[in-house]
Amino acid sequence: MTKNSRNTAVYKLYELFSSMRFAIGLLTILAIASIIGTVLKQNEPYPNYAFEFGQYWFAVFEQLGLYDVYHSGWFLTILAFLVLSTSLCILRNGPGFIKDMKAYREKASDNSLAAIKHSVELPADKVDPDTLRAYLRGQGWRWREYQREDGSLVLAAKKGAASKLGYFFAHIALVVICIGGLMDGNLPLKLAEMVGSVVPETRDIPQSQIPPQSRLSTANLSFRGNVTIAEGKSGDVVFLNAGNGYLVQELPFTVSLKKFYVDYYSNGMPKLFASDIVVTDKASGKVTEAQVKVNHPLIVDGVAIYQASFGDGGSPLSLKAWNLEAPQMQPVDIKGISMGSQPLRANGKDYNLEFGELRVFNIENMSGKSDDAAGKSLSQRMQDAREVKHEKQLKNIGPSISFKLRDKQGQAVEFHHYMAPIQQDGASYMVAGVRSKVSDPFQYLRLPLDDKLSLERFMRLRSAFMNPALYDEIAQRTTAKAMQGSAISPAMQQQFAGSVKWILARFAQGGFVALEQFLDEKVPQDKRQAVAQTYVKILQGAVVDVMDVADAKAGLPPVAMDSQHYRFLLDSLVGISALHDYQAPVLLQLQGFDQVQASGLQLTRSPGKNLVYLGSLMLVIGIILMFYVREVRLWLRCGTASVRLAMSSNRHNRDLDEDFRRRSEAIQQLVRGK
């Protein structure tokens, strides 16, 4: 390069971009920029961001591309500069390094040899170049000789030139990796979005109605998208995340899901997710059948198919609907499909029934033993610390369905029902959860099941409670029993029967809460406890008669009043009371289902992958060569009565000190006669 061109602006830029300062600066900026994307959750739905930051900052951050930092223009620009800087660095230093790798510097002058840090003049009795050559050969050096005009001979040797090769490997590797990454990146897509030839779809509409400007053809070189396919269904597109919306990527084949498998360990942790899929090529009709599971993707036509997620694919359900507002009515069977919604008309009002996910396995820790370490003895703690397996009573409590019941005003209450009877302390219950806010936990109520594990008896009892026409008969029976047991005097008979009826009515109307409310309002505080006990006693006595009357009315024989059945009645009281908080006109009891699962597949095409791997391999080789191959040069200038030994290395460290000491001793021995 001439002196003139060195002063041009272009050359100055070249110098800046290829400089170390610039490279280090870029590394630092890249590191800091990368942090942003780990702190701010990426690729969330835009409304989430708007909610979090407020409209103003939401717009600012959107402009800055902070919701997808790693694909934003400015981030890619930093990467591009890193590639540029590295390439220029190679261009700038490369020729010198290659020259250096080839050179032996056999023409070094005496002065320059003496000026080297590790240099010594060794007195010699007899200088035999052959001995020195043999020494160098024996130690695996490569060297070149130079006969000087003054008669002295210079042996210029070197080892570990590959160290410089490491520089090339490591730095070219970075460029290769970045190019590979760029091939797999969505740069062309971003550009197409910028000029408007591709427009992300933001509406939630069926796939077939999505307009062409939101669809990408199979010619698209690289993509990474997701699709959910239900069992027995198929798909031939994937959906790509694109800012606030999504794009549809056409696939060269159709993927059909035959079956999805999920398997659990005994502690409830997932063990296996796998999909049996059939891939049919659209052009050739070639069929590939395979099972994909996590860590074992299927690669067809350069597109890798991964097991990514799973869910409910819309399972047909059969349910029994108990009308809670008209308890005398027989339950009605209804059909539904999980993940789907349907209208429901109950007691003259219209609702929308929105089914959620059907979960077939629900594994819970039933031991009730908390893992909290507090309050344990030292020996217990030591015992725990020794055990690598802790006993837990884990149990699969069976399938559950969640659903929402939405009224005309759009208000929804969410329910979570278990299908199978759940055993607790020897009795069986149906467990149902309810909540009116998504942020709240479910409030679970348990309804006791009868001898046939059905809700029938409970509902019959409840129906009788809700039927004031039966109160006279019930009160009569209860009073008669009380008389028999001499709990009350004949004089109080009338008053007692009245109390029974009042308590039944009050309980039917609002459960235990209603009774409590009455106590709080009407009874002086000091008497409340006693009155409450009386109420509970009466209720506990009367419930037997309610059951008997209900059974008699249904034409059924009375139930044997043993402890188990009595417990059923007491649990029923709790259940009836709790149903007041159930907030739904019907109780939907899951009776059966036909599970249809869905598999979430991720499909990717990344042509740059092999380039990235090649770059990675080069990077590792480069680092090993740079750090673990030491480039050492050695000069022997053979004079008449002395030999000068000089050594240099690309790294000045203790290894060279030691090496130099050893070699000067050896050379001294070799030249000091025999």
């Binding site: 020494y135 063990k271 996590v294 991964y306 590792v620």
Partner: protein
């Protein structure tokens, strides 16, 4: 000429002593036995990893002589423990030797105790300038490493006693990798200690190990984290066997370099100057640690990317853990450039190595604690 012959560098196989060959045969026999027993249960990759490990262990033993007794000893302790189980996990609570020494948890508790003792003794040796105490510090660190290695091996076996579908190499969660971290850091330090013939820096390196041990104890006693859990599908891969250990060579080396940086800064400030090695020696050790750490961290990140390409659908997803791995990598890449190209030494680089530990710790722990992402199984 004849004299020159005596300086001829012998090829490697001629320089090996009978003890080297004995060690190699031992490792190969052990690997052969493992192959014979477990071959049907391994896929091709796992068989390759077994063969590769055997070769790697032989190479390591030939390269680092102390490894020739350390590894067989640790493995023998583990085998003794395994033989006492008679295939029943419950014997860990009843058989005397298992209960107090050889069950994985007992061995790990011994490792913890020995690391604490080693730290104290190293410091005593440093402050009193007692070579004897410093030697004891080394001995205790070696003993801790033997117990730690044995504990991990036994834990591996125990996981199969819980259930054949539960069994896996113990590098699958934060508790297990913390043990691996202390073990690898200690062994790397012991190597450099011998290489640089200085024991004084042990007082500093053992501090970071002790901190990790403190975490292990808290995690175990307070959180019951030592319980062996089965592997979720994403972790059921042979990649785990190579990705995780490679990563922890990196983390261990970076942690060690930071502690050496602390020691160097103290020396430069004149604190403990007459007791610690010279700043140049510490600087050199620090550089060696960072370069080996950088190499392994690079390999680990690449292996992680290749695993991600199998498990998550892409070799790079800008997952927080991946991104922080990149940040750590960039940090040390810059460090090495500054040292090698700009020729910096001393205080600024020592400070940088210390700050590097903060970055590394965040990548290792902070990401799991504060950020969510695909690596969530490593969570606290």
């Amino acid at each position: 000429m004849e004299l020159a012959q005596s300086f001829v560098e012998q090829p490697l196989y001629k320089r090996l002593k009978p003890s080297d060959w004995l060690y190699a045969v031992l490792v190969l026999v052990a690997a052969g036995q493992a192959w014979r027993l477990y071959n049907p249960f391994m896929d091709g990759y796992e068989q390759a990893i077994l063969a590769g490990s055997a070769i790697g262990l032989v190479a390591l033993g030939w390269f680092w002589k102390a490894w020739r007794w350390f590894f067989p000893l640790s493995a023998s302790v583990a085998l003794l423990g395994i033989s006492l189980y008679h295939g029943q996990l419950a014997r860990a609570q009843t058989a005397f030797w298992l209960k107090f020494l050889l069950s994985s948890q007992s061995a790990i508790m011994w490792m913890c105790t020995l690391f604490f003792l080693a730290t104290l003794v190293y410091w005593a040796g440093l402050l009193t300038r007692s070579a004897m105490l410093s030697r004891m510090g080394s001995g205790l660190t070696w003993a801790a490493a033997v117990m730690g290695g044995a504990g991990l091996f036994v834990r591996w076996y125990e996981s199969y006693l819980i259930g054949s579908d539960v069994g896996h190499i113990p590098v699958s969660n934060l508790y297990e990798v913390f043990i691996l971290f202390t073990l690898i850091t200690a062994l790397m330090y012991l190597y450099y200690e011998a290489r640089f013939a200085t024991r004084q820096a042990g007082a500093f390196v053992l501090l970071v190990i002790s901190a990790a041990v403190g975490f292990i104890l808290w995690y175990s006693f307070d959180r019951q984290a030592h319980e062996i859990q089965p592997l979720i599908p994403a972790l059921q891969s042979w990649w785990m066997k190579i990705h995780v250990p490679a990563n922890f060579v990196g983390y261990g080396a970076f942690a060690m370099s930071a502690m050496l940086g602390v020691a160097e800064l103290l020396v430069l400030k004149g604190v403990l100057k007459d007791r610690l090695p010279s700043a140049e020696v510490l600087d050199e050790m620090m550089y060696k640690a960072i370069s080996i750490g950088f190499l392994f961290f690079t390999i680990a990140t690449i292996l992680g990317a290749m695993w991600a390409a199998d498990a998550w659908g892409g070799y790079w997803s800008w997952d927080p853990k991946e991104t922080w791995a990149l940040i750590v990598w960039l940090n040390y890449a810059a460090w090495l450039h500054i040292r090698l190209v700009k020729g910096w030494r001393g205080e600024p680089l020592a400070w940088w190595a210390v700050i590097g530990l903060l970055v590394t710790t965040f990548a290792f722990l902070g990401v799991n604690m504060y950020l969510t992402g695909l690596h969530s199984y490593g969570g606290l």
